[in-house]
Symmetry: C2
Subunit: 263 residues, 2 copies
């Protein structure tokens, strides 16, 4: 072989669609096959197939005394540090810890993930796991550093509606709560999302094109530059977590303030 073989990696694919015949299920199967064919190890969390319980409650923390008010962050951290989380949560955390990259595959519903996937996020990214006092600060090479993160999202809308002047807002802004608020908060390295637009009517030819584009993104999962969000500990922010005056390139505004100038 003349080309360097990419190092095999470990990838967790989390997927959420109620129908196994859906576009999202097809894309999940495609990604898993493609990644395995490239020599990687893959685990899958198919949330509907797993009947994942979406609603965080006291059962997440089996040792939590029933007569004590549930302060979620405190209970979450106590149970995590004591390794006394509900077993299905511990199992998902183990998959994330095992992984070198996490891919979330989902249909955009109301400009975010489906509720069952929000429930995976709410319940798995406990205090003491994704963030917390005993861990490095958020928005830095922190709790889950060294892991790539890719959102792969299908949308009924056209791309123009998610463009810089599009009415839905720029895709990166709409997904900021996940890209920056979840992944980068926990120290993971989010890549530019992979979006499949106009997905309600998808002729075979356009699907084939999309699949090729997705394959290319998966091939570059460990070589693409992550979105260069600013580090909280890099000297760009004051003690109240505000960006210091003047550190941005002239004309930078909105949520782009929190991205380092590229190139």
């Amino acid at each position: 072989m003349t080309e360097a073989t990419p190092q095999p990696k470990k990838i967790l694919v989390v997927t959420a669609h109620p129908d196994r015949r859906s576009l999202n299920s097809t894309l999940t199967a495609f990604a898993v096959d493609h990644l395995r064919a490239a020599g990687h190890e893959v685990q899958i969390s198919d949330l509907y197939a797993m009947k994942w319980r979406a609603a965080l409650d006291a059962d997440d923390f089996p040792d939590h005394p029933a007569d004590e008010r549930l302060a979620v962050m405190a209970a979450s951290e106590r149970a995590t540090l004591a390794e006394r989380l509900a077993p299905e949560i511990a199992a998902e955390q183990e998959k994330v810890r095992w992984s070198d990259a996490v891919v979330l595959q989902f249909p955009m519903w109301w400009f975010s993930v489906p509720a069952i996937m929000k429930g995976w996020i709410d319940r798995v990214f406990t205090a003491g796991f994704g963030y917390g006092p005993a861990l490095p600060p958020p928005y830095s090479e922190g709790a889950l550093a060294g892991r790539r993160a890719l959102l792969s999202v299908t949308m009924g809308a056209r791309p123009t509606a998610f463009s810089d002047r599009g009415i839905h807002g720029p895709l990166g802004d709409v997904l900021y709560p996940l890209q920056h608020g979840l992944f980068w908060f926990a120290g993971m390295e989010p890549l530019e999302p992979f979006g499949l637009f106009d997905s309600n009517e998808l002729p075979a030819e356009r699907f084939a094109t999309a699949q090729r584009a997705y394959a290319e993104r998966l091939d570059r999962l460990f070589t693409d530059e992550p979105v260069p969000f600013r580090s909280l500990v890099g000297g760009d922010y004051d003690h109240d977590m505000r960006l210091l005056p003047g550190v941005e390139a002239p004309g930078t505004t909105g949520l782009d303030l929190h991205v380092r100038p590229r190139g």
Copy 2:
């Protein structure tokens, strides 16, 4: 009486916290009492108490043939127009239709609503109810026009972290998928969110102050100016749903592009 009595209105309060002793439950009870004392009618959807099922699936649409792939938007619209939705969804839609205002009370988890509330949104705002071909266009005085919408959200963070240069992003940007993407998309009139910050440690005095501030916001539920999001049909957008060049005030950027200049 010398002052005009406010017209009694109908208000739906939707709330999501797993513990009835939580701050969010306390704020919900306070809002309900306060609104009723002012003469309004109030209904409550306490999602944890109702054991609301979060994950949308084919059971939402009882007539959907099991051997047919579930295309969510199409199935959702068909079931809605045929008045054949799961009964718990129809009941929630009836509450929204009944209401003059909807208040969502929730703790911010991962920069959005808890999964159980996302599941209320995913399942209740069906095609044919919140939007759809047979209804007025989205982002206009559309499907659910004439209804106020208020997010009341508790956050562990300090307000500076959600300020214009705050690392979490401006609160309005973080909540844009709900304010603009849900409420305004469906034609409702979102007010500025009511935020209670630094909520993990809340001394009695600060709680009392917050409660007074919340009471004032509730008193102005029908008189405050809604966030003046631009209408899709008002001539500001092109056919690809992009804001036309130059309609914004000079210097306006980011998601503020979609807000009409005030004052």
